[in-house]
Every structure is written in C-alpha cells, then in structure tokens.
Assembly symmetry: C2
Homo-oligomer: 642 residues x 2
C-alpha cells in the first residue's frame, strides 16, 4: 500500500511505500532537511512537523512539548498513512522552503518494465513428463531404453526420438523402471533448436511432475545473486545473494586474472565462486524446504572473466593485448562437474560473451530487455569499474567496454566505500548555509561515501556553486566545512562527532577529479560508439540503465555531472540487474531462451583502447558536465542561475 507525502511549504509530493522513512522520502523528493548524522537520530537536526496523517515515531531527544505539538525527527519517523509534513527550518532568505526540482528517479513500475522486456510464457527448457510404460512380455521384449523412448513418444507422433544422458541413465534404467513398477517421471531437456530432439537427463520413480525448479544466477565480480524459480508456474520462490568468494583474491577482474596465474590460483578461484553459488543454492533451498537435488536447471550470466573462472578456463590472455578470451560461447556444462551442489544430470548454462570486457551479463541484460526485437534505437549502459555500452536495435548492435576506474565503487576516493551500511547514499546541500543533508544506508552515522552518494555530492556541490566546472572548490566561500586539507581543498560532509569512524568525513578535489575521469570515460564511450555508426545522442529513442549501480542512480544528478547524456528524461529506463533477469526469463520460457543466439549474433564489439577518437572525447569530457555545454542544455540552465 503506497502512501502520499506532501512536504510544506513547497507542496512537494512523493508517493512512497507504507512505512517509508521520512528523511529518506524527503531526500528522494529533493526536499532539503537538515541531517548531519546520516539518519542515526543523534544530531537532532532533522525536525519536521506532522500536519496531517499518521506516523510512527519515538520521541527520542525531542522535548515533550515539541513532540506533543507534532514535531518529529524525520530520520526516526515512518509514515503510516498519507501525511502532510512541514519542514520548519527549511527557509531561504525569502522565507520559503527551498525550491528544488523533485528528484526524477523513475521507480520501475510493473508496466514500464513489461513494456521494456515484454511478456514471457511458462515453457521452461526443462520439463517433466510422467509416463506409464507397458511392462515387457515375450511378445514385446524390446529393450528397456527403447521401451522408455516409446513411452515418451506415445501420443506425440510428430516428436523426434529423444536422446539421453549416457552412461548414467542407462546404468540405472533397468532398476528404476522395475522398482517404480513401470511408472516414472522423465526430466527432459529441450533441444537447442526447435528441430533438435529433447534429451532425457534423469528419471524419477512415480509421478513427480509437480516439483520442477530452476535457479537463475548472476555471477558478479563482487556479488553473486540467485533466484529460485518454480518452473511449473514461473514464480519466484526465493532469492539470495552473497559476496563472490573470490573477492579476497582481488577486487576486480584484473586482479583476479593476476591471481589465477599463481600456482593453483585458477583452481582456487574456480572453487571459491562455486562455493558462493553453493551458498546461494543452500539458502534458497532451505527457504522453501526443497533439496538442492530438486533443482533441474541452472542458468547463469557473468562477465567474461567470471565465466572463464567458473569453467576453470585460464583467463590469461584476456588481460594481454589484443585481449583475446578463450571463448565467447560457453557450452552447456554439467553443474556437478564444476563442483556445484546439484544433481549430476543438471545442466548449467552460461550466457555467451561478446568480447573480453563485454560479457554474458551484458548479453543477458540485452536479451532481457529485448533490444534485439525492438525497432527503437537504444543505448544500453552498465556503469561500473568496467563500463559496458551497447547501442543498436533489432537490425544491428555495437558494443564496447570502457575502463572507468573504480570511482563508482568507492575506489580512489578518500572516504570511498561500497554501498553498505553507513555509506552516504544521498546528499543535499543548503544553498545558503552550505550545510549538508546526508542520508546513509541503514541510516547509521556516516562511515564513508558510496558511488551513488558520490554522484549526489558532486552534483550538489556543482549546482550550488561550491565547486566549479573543473571540480575545483570556490575559494571565495568562507565556510568551516570548506577548507584546505591534506589533499588540497575539501568539503566536510560529517564532523568527527557525527561520524562513525571518529574523524571528519570529507570529499576532496582529488576525489572529484577521480569521479570526473570515470564519468568522462563512460561519456566518451557513448560518443565514440555512436559516432562509429554515424549517429549521435539525438538519434536515440531509449537509454536503458542496467546493473545494480544503474538501479540506484539519480538520473538528474548523473546528467548534472555528465555521466549520462542530457536527453528527454522519458527516454530513460531502469532495468536493474538485467543479467539476473535475462537468466530468469530464459529459465522460464525456452522460446525466449532460444532467441539469445540472435543477440550475440547481432552484437559487434569495438575496442576503445588505443582508439584516438575515444581519447579526444575523453579529454573533452574531463569537465563537469563537459567542456561543450551545448551537449548539456538543462545543466547549462541550472548553472546559469547561479
């Protein structure tokens, strides 16, 4: 049940889920509230007054009189009905609440996601068929196998004779048939193509057709996520995710490749990621009380290095020019042969890669959002240390990867950190007092800055004139939070007393420079790829933001710093974890699954390294948002108002 919040005096409204935190809601709505402690309730600054509606809140540090008068600490309050909230202190010089455009993050509504990815049917690539077989007699003593095949084809004259798994099935066949009194359930894997025969991968005594499960897995460099699906209904039964167990051997794919070159390194990395997948299998199975051996199919997607490592294929040459992976199409593998906790018959499918740095996670995402079926010219973006970009439509697609560096994941940022508890994920600045409003993940005291927080901070500093387009602090502002620190000028996001780590949490010019390089690489990537096909941003019908990072991205701020092109906001879509979504859809609808080959067939890779055009675009993009402000008309207007 969603609730509507109206923030006075500006009448900014936002619709949120029941129980949403008021500070988070204000940050999302772009309403500034004093909040220095990240939402921990200690600074006591974020006082608001509930004018109408029900909220749930502790009194905390508030005085009784205040509390009875409807005053609440926004960070300690959750909404229980439609509410009207007054922000008492949020006054500018003109006595009005700060006029800020509402944040334009587009929550993925079911409708828009469906528009993007289309519908799918429940016809999974594995199926169970219950068969009653005529027992043999002297008049009819065809072998057990032929008897089984005859039973499976019964009533299906057009069907091809299925193939079967050898030797496992043959060895158990005579016994399972007789023990089950000739009534068995066959697990069939559909042929790769329509014209290929099905394959019997396992037999179970009796009728087990009501139990058919599949697992979709996204193998991220950092995080592995899995979804358990009921393949009879297509429904999600359980989800789980865990840090990729390889992480202790290196944060990114390059350091993993380096580790894999050590003695035993490849095997260790392979075992670690398998261990993580097994954790996920255990978790989702425990959740719905089934056995891991009840899972009949595993579909996975990961980048090229993760795919190589999972299969135990040496990724050595991915790292060396000319960056050649061992393969891009990964054949269907027995999951158990890799060490995955699965029945020996279970296949593990890995989405194909395009190139060394455009992997199966991207193909899966493109496949999920049906770019290869749409006439609309689409820019598909997955932002990260390694940013992947795909442009095209049903007729052609080009992709590339650009090395943005680790800034989006907190790397190279003084107080940078992953998006975990205590990370500043949202930020606003008071346009006159320059005081911060910070919201942290889990609303604890701040520990550091995650990627989305970093973008918010830099965008706010830029739009409030605290920094200029080169990312340098305005030395003329005299404010205690703006100071000349260790690494040059910096802005104090949280004083040591308000921080979790007992020291001032700051953002420095060096940090801003690192972010500028990262976003510049991404933007130069879009430009180079579009130009390579003689197109420009204006030709685009859609921009799809994939990946976990994309899902948390504040569109307006990302445009402000020049990370995303300044286009009609209605053209932007959030896909979320497209990699997992592609695997999930393929696991449920075998016809969609079969279409995946079109995706990899359509996509052509382009290398940006040593590409002079890319270097030119990159240099031009090392400004906030860009040296050429004509490319960012909406940002130009904002900056002009300063």
């Amino acid at each position: 049940m969603s609730k509507k919040i109206t923030f006075l005096p500006d009448k900014t409204t936002i619709t949120v889920d029941d129980g949403e935190n008021l500070l988070t809601a204000a940050a999302t709505a772009g309403v500034y509230v004093h909040a220095f402690c990240g939402g921990d309730g200690v600074c006591g600054k974020c006082k608001v007054k509930i004018k109408e509606g029900q909220v749930s809140s502790e009194r905390g540090h508030l005085k009784t009189a205040e509390y009875e008068n409807g005053v609440r600490l926004a960070c300690q309050t959750s909404v229980a009905s439609d509410v009207v909230v007054e922000i008492p202190e949020a006054m500018g010089k003109d006595g009005r609440a700060l006029r800020r455009k509402p944040k334009t993050t587009r929550a993925i509504s079911a409708r828009s996601l469906e528009a993007l990815i289309g519908k799918w049917e429940v016809t999974p690539p594995v199926e169970k068929r219950f068969i009653k077989i005529d027992p043999p007699s002297l008049d009819d003593n065809v072998p057990d196998l032929q008897r089984l095949l005859r039973g499976i084809r019964k009533g299906c004259f057009a069907c091809k004779e299925p193939t079967y798994d050898h030797p496992e099935m043959l060895r158990e066949l005579p016994f399972i048939l007789r023990e089950a009194n000739w009534e068995i359930t066959a697990i069939l894997l559909r042929g790769k193509r329509e014209e290929e025969p099905d394959r019997i991968i396992a037999l179970e005594p009796g009728n087990t057709t009501d139990r058919l499960y599949g697992l979709a897995v996204d193998i991220g460099t950092t995080t592995v996520s899995g979804i358990l699906l009921d393949l009879n209904s297509g429904k999600v039964l359980a989800e789980a995710s865990a840090y990729n167990g390889q992480i202790r051997y290196g944060e990114d794919v390059i350091s993993r490749i380096i580790y894999s070159q050590r003695a035993g390194g490849l095997r260790t990395l392979q075992e670690r990621v398998v261990h993580t997948i097994n954790e996920i299998i255990e978790s989702v199975c425990r959740n719905v009380m089934i056995s891991p051996s009840d899972i009949s199919y595993i579909m996975a997607a990961g980048n090229t290095v993760m795919s190589h490592l999972l299969l135990g294929i040496d990724p050595k040459f991915i790292r060396e020019a000319p960056y050649v992976p061992a393969c891009s199409q990964f054949p269907l593998t027995r999951a158990a042969s890799l060490g995955v906790m699965a029945h020996p018959s279970v296949r593990l499918f890995l989405y194909p890669s395009i190139a060394s740095y455009v992997g199966g996670d991207i193909v899966s995402g493109v496949h999920a959002c049906q770019m290869h079926k749409s006439p609309e010219l689409t820019l598909f973006i997955d932002i990260g240390t390694n940013g992947e970009i795909v442009v095209g439509n049903m007729d052609w697609m080009m992709c590339t990867a650009c090395s943005a560096g680790p800034a989006f994941e907190g790397g190279g940022i003084r107080f940078g950190m992953r998006a975990s508890s205590g990370a500043i994920e949202n930020f606003q600045i008071h346009p006159t007092t320059y005081d911060p409003m910070i919201v942290t993940i889990d609303r604890t005291k701040p520990r550091g800055i995650c990627g989305s927080g970093l973008i918010s901070i830099v965008a706010e500093l830029l739009e409030s004139g605290v920094i200029d387009q080169q990312g340098k602090f305005n030395r003329s502002i005299d404010h205690p939070r703006i100071r000349d620190g260790h690494d040059g000028y910096e802005y104090v996001l949280a004083w040591s007393k308000d921080s979790l780590i007992g020291e001032d949490v700051v953002i420095t010019e060096v940090d801003i420079d690192n972010l500028t390089r990262a976003k510049g690489a991404m933007y130069a990537g879009y430009q180079t790829l579009l130009e390579s096909v003689g197109m420009s941003f204006n030709d685009l019908d859609r921009i799809i933001l994939a990946g976990n990072f994309g899902a948390y991205l504040d569109l307006e701020r990302a445009i402000s710093i020049g990370l995303l092109p300044d286009l009609d906001r209605d053209k932007f879509y959030y896909l979320g974890n497209g990699s997992l979504m592609g695997a999930q859809i393929s696991l449920v609808d075998h016809r969609r699954f079969r279409q995946r080959s079109e995706v990899s067939r359509l996509i052509t890779n382009m290398e940006l390294s040593e590409n002079p055009q890319f270097m030119n675009h990159y240099m031009a993009a090392l400004f906030l948002p860009h040296t050429d402000l004509n490319l960012f008309p909406s940002v130009r207007s904002k900056l002009a108002e300063l």
Copy 2:
C-alpha cells in the same frame, strides 16, 4: 604363390598356398591317407610318393631306400612347386584309390568377398585437418575458439560450424594455439548424419595429418580380436587377438551374467574385458611403433551381453524372461572413460544390438555383407553355443537366436576341446578298414576334438555306415576301434600310444547325440524363421556363414549331418569374422558407417523360446541329417549308396 597338387591314382587336384603341408592338403581335398597320429610324424603311416615336383621334407623314420625312391611322410612334407603325389596304400578292393568327392570348402577368394561386401572408400568418420590461423590483433580479437572455428571453416562456406569437446578443448585451446604459433591440426569427428556438424575432439600442434589411426575390435565371449588401420590409406597395419579376460569367470554369456550379479562382479567383468582390449592395443601399437594415444577412433562390435558388460551396464534382465536388455543402441562413449588405453578425446563406438541374444556382432556382420542393400533373399548364420540367424534382404529382415548348446565348442563332448593345438580338426575314415585319417591343429598328437573335427567325424561315420541316422553305432561291424565303452558304444579315434594324453581318444554315442541336438536347434531355427515370413529354403538366394566357426566349416559335411540346408553349394558364402569386418569397414568409410542404422531399423527379432513351431521342427531335426530326407536330397543319395 599357389601350387597345384595332383593326387594319384585318382587325379584329385587341389590348389594350395606355397609351403602347404601335404597331409592337410590331402584331408582338404578329401583324399584319404592313413594318419593315426594327427600329423606328429610318429605313426609313420602316411607314406606318399612324390612323382613330380619339389617338396621339402625330413627323412624321419623312413628307410634310406624309400626316401631316395621319392617316398615321404605326408604329414612331414610341404610343397615347393606344383607336385604330383601318389597315395600308395590308398587302395580299395578294386585296386583303385578311394573315390571320394573332393571336399567342397570354398576358400574365400578376393573376388567373392568383394561381391558380398562391396567396395568402400577411405573417408573415415574421423579426419585431421591442418589449419593455419591468423594471429589475433586489436582489429581482430575474436576469441580463440571462434578464431579456431573460423579457421576450420575457411574455404568451406557450405560447412556447418563444428561443435567441440567441452571442457578439455577449451581449457587447453589458448595455450596450444600460441605454443604452436597458430598452426595446428584439428581432429574432427564427422556428424552422425550428413546434416549434422562435425565435432572437434582434439588439437595437435603443427601438421600431424599424416598420422591417423583407428582400431576395429570384435569383442567375442571367448576371443577379442583387433585390427589397427591406417585411416589415411584404409590399410590394415597390424592385427592381434587374445582370450577375453572374462573367461575365468565363466565360459559363456549366461555364466558371465551370473557372475556379474556378485558383489563387484559387474565391475570386475568390465575391467577384465577392458584389460583385454588394452592388451590388443598395446600389441598392435608396438607392432607399428606408434603410441596408443595416436589412435583416433575405436569401433567395436560384440554380443548384447559383452556390450552391456563393456559399458558397465547390468545385464541382469537379459537372463530372465522376457529377456529384456537395458538398451540396444549404445551411444558413442569416451573410450578412456571405460578404462581403455586411449587419448581422452577418443570415441568408442559399439554396434547396436537387436535383442538380448542377437547382438552388435551380428548387426556388424550383416552390415559388412550389405544384406540391407541387396535384393537377394539371404540367410545369414552365425553358428555357436548361441546361434544367430538373420533372414531377409533390402526390404525386410528377421532375426532370431537359438540356444544350440556348447557342442560346437567342444562342450558336452567327452574329448571335446576348443580349436587349439592338438585338437582333431579334420577326419576321414577308410571305407573298408574303418581306419581313421586324423589331422590335428598344429599337427601334434591328438588331445581331443574341436567343433569342426566333430562334424567331420560324425559325417564320416554316417556316410561310411558306421553309425545310423539316429547316431547309433552299427553293432554288426566287428572292428577293434568300434567298441562298447563306458558311455555306451564308441569309436576309437586314436589309441593311447598315438595320443598326447596317454589314453584312447574316442567319440561316443552320447557325443553324437549332443551334436545332433545342437545342429537340430540351428536347423529348426532356420525353418521357424523362414516359415514365420511364409518362406522356405528354396526361396533363398544366398546363405552367408559368419563367425569363426563358420569359416572353418566343411560345407559338405555340415550338410551331411543336417547343420546346413541341402541347397546349391554355389549359394553358400563364407564371411569369416563379420563382426570385425563390419567394424573395420565402418572405421574406414563413414558413409558405410552411417548406413548402419538402416540395418538395425530393418531387423525384427523373433523369440524362439516357448515357440511351439520351433519345438516341432527341433524334434524332427534330431536325426542325421533329418527325419525328412526329402529336405536333404544329396545326403539321401549318399546314404542310398551304402
């Protein structure tokens, strides 16, 4: 170089190989020579006189005068040119050499074999292709696998993209390509059908196309035989055979099945036959100085039980009514996965079976002799403990198995033995003196009687009136060799002084009865199968004798005892080891190989057990040659002359 021998006074001629033994030649020609010691040179009876031509012989026990006069011991003499030989003592009462029809054993000439099995081409189901691959560059950095596939398809635009062995090939691919400086040889397995893509099973650095070898194996219950083939030329490089290592666990398939039901029995039997195959591989490879890992394909054929045991599939239900094997089509297996000494990429193909007692050895034989391509109505016979019979032509085929018992292999015969050194393999009887002419394998003193010897003895005893059509001895003949012994009446083949075992070697009425039952089962099998399709012996265009036993069979004598039907002798063909021949042809010509599926598709099995028609025919066949002499006109004539 063949030589012609003319035996005087009857002018019987025979063409033999250079160096052939004179006693063996006489026995083959149907010329009686006194020979009591099997050819050992000790009895000194087999004196002949060389009238013309060169022979090689020791003087031995002969007097100098005799020797200088051209007298020789036939068993100690080999021919060195065309010769004319007088048999001095071989006089009947009329003073003429015994007038006997020459033995009609038809040596398989190259022409007749070709007429039967047709020609084949050298296009094996594995091939090697040398490929020079363009090294990768930044402009062309497609993955190693795609680069390899591109290289293979180069200049072959119609070719389908090959599949490949996963994961072995993928894991070594990046290294083998670079170490070989992008010049490699791919070993390709052709698709099962024309429209299926090839499969890359292995890669070798450099150009190794001149080395391509295959192994054909016949897995007999008793003997395993193998042929090493050069698959570039189709030539046989080496042959080897060995007793099936399972033999210590039982002589026949039934006792093997029984053993397989013991704890660990199945595994032991599987390991033993694999050990035997490995012995053969070692032997043929040592012979031509290649490594076992140089063999790129193994094709094998064996009966249904042997096939199950090789693959480690429990044969339990083959022995229990209604006699159902686990499977009849055996999928392509990795030889190494069974323990066979082979490169991990090497496939082992096993000819499909038809039923529990009509196995892949028969299918391979039928395939070799192209019954499924011929309009001629053919009776295909493999005589043994388990006799297999196939009848049909290109339009349809029926098969059955009949349990003849072990008599043909010496089982149930007092002095029965396998066809090994010292076994009486040929026999004639003097029509008036009733003295024997015996020829043993290796021409040692006799130890016992093998299957072909047994048939010779019974046929001779019958045709000379020593036994009657019921197999009973003529009590009215007064002769020291015909006596009432332990098991009833018997004939002394060799006195103890002439035998290797120090006791009289005899044939008894019980022995004859056992042979009669065995041949009766075979004959009743032919009749029942022909009748089931509304046909009779007169409809047959060809009779093909397959199997080792068939190759040694004396046609005339086999007809005399009623083991084979009394038809125009020109209709009979000796195929020899058709099982090995089918595997050999398939290994060399993949088009012939692909046609094998027609064979198993065409053949329908019929069960004889509990078939009343079969029982009637069987009872009627328990006579020598048969109760109905109209079925054996040529034998009737001979017997009428008595």
